[in-house]
Structures are given as structure tokens and as C-alpha cells.
Amino acid sequence: MDKATQDTPMIQKVIAVLWPSFLTSGVATILFFTAFDPQLIVSVSGYGEITRLGGYTIGFFLFWMLTSISCLLTCYFQRPCDPK
């Protein structure tokens, strides 16, 4: 297993982090914005004006950032603890 992780090319690791998080954040974005209107959220929380499309996009990237972080941590913790 650890040999396999070490042998994985860098780019494969990058995609292993970015790609699953992309998929899940897509789902999260749909669910979240079905329930909440970004325009309303932004105006209620007093951040000024935003177009809906802008709200969806920012929301999507926020979700993507969060899910990427958890994917990244998963990859990180998957490495063998023993420093040999």
C-alpha cells in the first residue's frame, strides 16, 4: 500500500484531491442553493449586492475548497506514520 502511494505520480495525487471534491461540492451546491437563495443570504448578512449567478459560483468554490481540504487531509493521514 505505502509503496503504491509513493509510486503514484504527482498529477494523480492532485486529481485524487481535486476531482472527488469537485463532484461532492457540485452536489452540495445544488442542494444548498435549492433551499437558499444566494441573493437573500448576501443581503440579509449585509455583504452588499450580488448577482445570483455570482452567488452560486462563489458558493460552489467555497464548497469545493472545503471538500478539497478534507480530501487533502485524507490523503495526508493515509500516509504511513512510521517514518522509515
Partner: protein, 467 residues
């Protein structure tokens, strides 16, 4: 796994985007399944590029209007409240995938997956610009020259133009495409529209131009779990080992039996046409997307040799083992029954769906107030959403099992199609009539044009109990 497939595969290290990767140069095929795929590509892409331009009843026929939070599909208008239907639709789509996978293997991958469909177009463009497989390999091996540069430049130029159009069309499903077109022409697109057009174009260009089979092998979740839906009766593409082996090249005239040869002439064409670069003769492999290109090409070879067709063919594991294949088996029947039941339920609930919604929102500031006459008053906002395609005038009535006195500016309200009316309503009651601190009231909204367009919602009336 497919190490020996590489023996026959002329490869090149260009374009290794993902893993250590050899570029695959799929050879063009002709035949029954290739025609089926081309038909599939033309129909699906035709639909994709044409549908957003269709108009219907004064609006874009198919529009998932994100800026306006409304989905239009011909006569139907969906609202965020209708998310339920979308979820059910997705479940149906997922189940159909299960069903077809159990029945016919990776039918989806070979004929309908966007990855396959767009890659097919990109391969076609590549062939038109750079020539057939051998010419492409030669060109990639050759040192950079004017000619090579011009070919490559032209190819990428066409790819990028096509991708840009694809991206534009994609965004046209989510914001009205006519406005989008005008804005693009005036170079007055909003930043987010630009962003998504570029994003989707880039994804198309990268996936269909560069990543190709690597998307299927490394990135596609379906490719990873589809084998769980396989059983011994699932259609797979397989090489007839018994008949083919021992493989070997030969003159056309000789009798293979005399030489102790099987029917495979080891021409490696099946490997050359394979978009994922595997050798079907090594057995079923997870990289195989079931595109049937190897069937087509091998049949051509068999015809030329004067042998029987179907050395490579659609078959089932049971058939290979000489057992009977069952089309209808419990797994397939279960998938089918669930699928039909959910579809029927969806159609029923859509048909009986009432395109009218009433939300009763209580005033947030006070639970109730006492008027100067000593009445208890609750304040509500009524949100009436007309989800129908035409304008309606609604009549509002109140009902409860204690005496109430509703006070509204008007008891009839006209709401345009796709709009929401906010109405403030005060309801008063004599404290002596109140039996508990919270009692139900019912508000009914009924269309004057269409009596069946009625919704009743429950609200609560709060007040002190005078005892």
C-alpha cells in the same frame, strides 16, 4: 494487466496528463457498431446544440434559469419547491443506469457518455487535420517543422473553437441563450457568464482532446463500480479464445487447421482501434468501455479472410461457458419493477400537481397583540406563488373552528404566471372564544378561472387563554 497489449501498440509519451501514460491513437473503424455510435453522437450532440435555441410559448423551451430560480421544460415550470421532482428524476436516471448495465454492460460508456461523444468528435477533427492513425504517429515522431506546426495549430484552433461553442451552449441552458448571444456579440457578458463559458470550454477541450480514455480509467466513478452490477448474464464484449487460439499470421489461402492455428490472424487491428489501448484478447478488463470497435474491425478481418464472423463479439459469461443466458433474471426484474414504479409515481404526481402554492408566514415581531377594542390580533404574510403558465386571480378564504375576523386589504389577488404575491393579513378573535393558546386556522386560495386550482394551508393563531 495489459502489458502484452503494448507489444503491438505504437506509442508515444506525449500528453501524459494523468498517470505514466502512452498516447493512444485509435484507428478509425467502420461497421455496424461504429455506425450506431456515429448515429448516437449525431443525435445527442444535435440535441445538445439545438435544444437551447428552441422557443416555446414565449420562453426558451428548455431552460434551467438559475438567475431567476425557475426551470422551464416545455409546458412545465419548476420552482425550488419542486426540488423533489428533480431528485426523483435523478433517482430514475440512476436506476436506469443500473438496469441497462445489468442487461447490456457498459452500453452507456460506449454510445452515450458525453466523454465518449465529445471524444469521438475530437478524434474526427484530429483525423481530418492530421490524417489517419499512421500519419498521426509519424507526425508526432517528426521533429517540429513548419508543416507539423501548421497541422497542430489548425487542430487546436478547431478544437478550441468547437469547445468555446460547447461552453457557450452549456451556459445557454442556465441563462436565456438569446440574451447571452446578444451580450456575447456586444462583448457585454457578466463576469460569471464569462467564467462558466471558459470553464466548460476548457473542460471540454481538456477531457476530449487530452485526457480521453484516462477520464474513463481514472476519474469516472461509474467505471469503478459498474462491475458490481454485472453478473454472468450481462452482455460483454469478448474474444473467443477457443476459436482464436493459437493465434498467428498466415497466408490467406492456407487452411489454418493444417498449420495448427486458430482463427485469429494476429493482425492486432483490434488493439489499434481500441480507444483505451487494451487488447481484448487478454480477457475482460476494467478499462474496456464496451465501444465494440474491436468487434467491427475483427469482423472486417474475418470477412477478408473468408472466416466466419464474430471472433470478437457481444456475449455473456454464461454463453462463453456454454450455458444458457437468461435475459430476465431476478436482478433485472427487480431493477425494472422499481424503475417502473417510481416512474409511474412521478408521472402521477406531476399530472396531479397543483401549480399554486401558499405559504403562511407569521409576523416575527410579536406573538399577538391586543387591539384597543380588546380583540386578540395575529399578523401574517401570505405568499401566493402562481406556478402555472397563465395569470390567475385567486380568492382567499379563512376557516377555523372558533370565530375569527380576517382583515385584508383585498380578498382577491391577481398573480401573473411565475410570480409571487405577498399579502399582509390580520386576523382578530375575541379572547373569550379562544380555547387554547395555540389554535389552528385554515387559509384557502382558489383560482377563479379554474376551481380545481385550490390549496389550503394550516396556520396557527396564538393568544392568551382567558380563564
Amino acid at each position: 494487466m495489459n502489458e502484452n497489449a503494448q507489444t503491438a501498440q505504437e506509442t508515444d509519451d506525449n500528453g501524459s496528463f494523468y498517470a505514466k501514460h502512452k498516447k493512444v491513437y485509435p484507428r478509425q473503424v467502420h461497421g455496424l457498431f461504429a455506425s450506431l455510435r456515429v448515429t448516437g453522437v449525431l443525435v445527442l450532440l444535435g440535441l445538445y446544440y439545438i435544444v437551447p435555441w428552441l422557443q416555446w410559448d414565449g420562453h426558451q423551451a428548455v431552460l434551467f434559469d438559475l438567475p431567476d430560480r425557475k426551470f422551464y421544460i416545455f409546458d412545465l415550470i419548476f420552482w425550488p419547491q419542486d426540488f423533489f421532482y428533480l431528485a426523483v428524476l435523478l433517482i430514475i436516471a440512476g436506476l436506469s443506469l443500473f438496469f441497462f448495465t445489468a442487461l447490456a454492460g457498459r452500453l452507456w460508456c460506449g454510445y452515450a457518455c458525453p466523454q465518449t461523444v465529445w471524444t469521438e468528435v475530437f478524434l474526427w477533427i484530429e483525423r481530418k487535420v492530421e490524417g489517419d492513425r499512421n500519419k498521426q504517429i509519424k507526425l508526432d515522431k517528426a521533429p517540429m517543422s513548419r508543416f507539423k506546426f501548421s497541422r497542430k495549430f489548425l487542430k487546436h484552433f478547431i478544437w478550441i473553437t468547437f469547445s468555446a461553442w460547447t461552453g457557450f451552449t452549456f451556459v445557454g441552458y442556465f441563462t436565456p441563450i438569446l440574451d447571452l448571444g446578444v451580450a456575447l456579440y456586444d462583448l457585454a457578458l457578466g463576469p460569471w457568464e464569462w467564467f462558466w463559458i471558459v470553464f466548460y470550454s476548457f473542460a471540454t477541450y481538456g477531457n476530449a482532446g487530452w485526457m480521453r480514455e484516462q477520464v474513463c480509467i481514472y476519474m469516472c466513478p461509474y467505471a469503478r463500480f459498474q462491475s458490481a452490477m454485472f453478473d454472468k448474464d450481462t452482455l460483454i464484449i469478448s474474444y473467443d479464445n477457443e476459436r482464436g487460439e493459437p493465434r498467428g499470421s498466415r497466408k490467406k489461402k492456407i487452411d489454418p487447421k493444417e498449420k495448427g492455428l486458430g482463427d485469429c490472424v494476429d493482425c492486432t487491428l483490434c488493439v489499434q482501434v481500441c480507444p483505451t489501448g487494451i487488447d481484448i484478447r487478454d480477457g475482460l478488463q476494467y478499462q474496456c468501455i464496451g465501444c465494440a470497435a474491436c468487434i467491427d474491425v475483427c469482423n472486417e478481418v474475418m470477412d477478408k479472410m473468408g472466416y466466419e464472423r464474430n471472433l470478437v463479439k457481444y456475449t455473456t459469461e454464461n454463453a462463453i461457458e456454454g450455458k444458457k443466458s437468461h435475459l430476465l433474471r431476478p436482478r433485472v426484474i427487480i431493477y425494472l419493477v422499481i424503475l417502473l414504479a417510481i416512474t409511474a409515481a412521478l408521472i402521477y404526481s406531476m399530472a396531479t400537481r397543483i401549480p399554486l402554492e401558499l405559504d403562511i408566514i407569521r409576523d416575527r415581531n410579536a406573538l399577538y397583540r391586543t387591539t384597543s377594542e380588546g380583540m386578540i390580533e395575529n399578523i401574517y404574510t401570505l405568499k401566493i406563488s402562481n406556478m402555472d403558465r397563465i395569470e390567475h386571480t385567486y380568492n382567499i378564504t379563512f376557516d377555523s373552528d372558533f370565530t375569527i375576523k380576517p382583515i385584508l386589504r383585498k380578498t382577491q389577488v391577481t398573480v401573473a404566471s411565475g410570480k409571487v404575491a405577498n399579502l399582509s393579513a390580520r386576523i382578530q378573535a375575541d379572547p373569550l372564544d379562544l380555547k387554547s393558546i395555540s389554535q389552528d386556522i385554515h387559509i384557502t386560495v382558489k383560482s377563479l378561472k379554474n376551481e380545481s386550482l385550490t390549496v389550503t394551508e394550516k396556520g396557527v393563531f396564538l393568544g392568551p387563554v382567558s380563564r
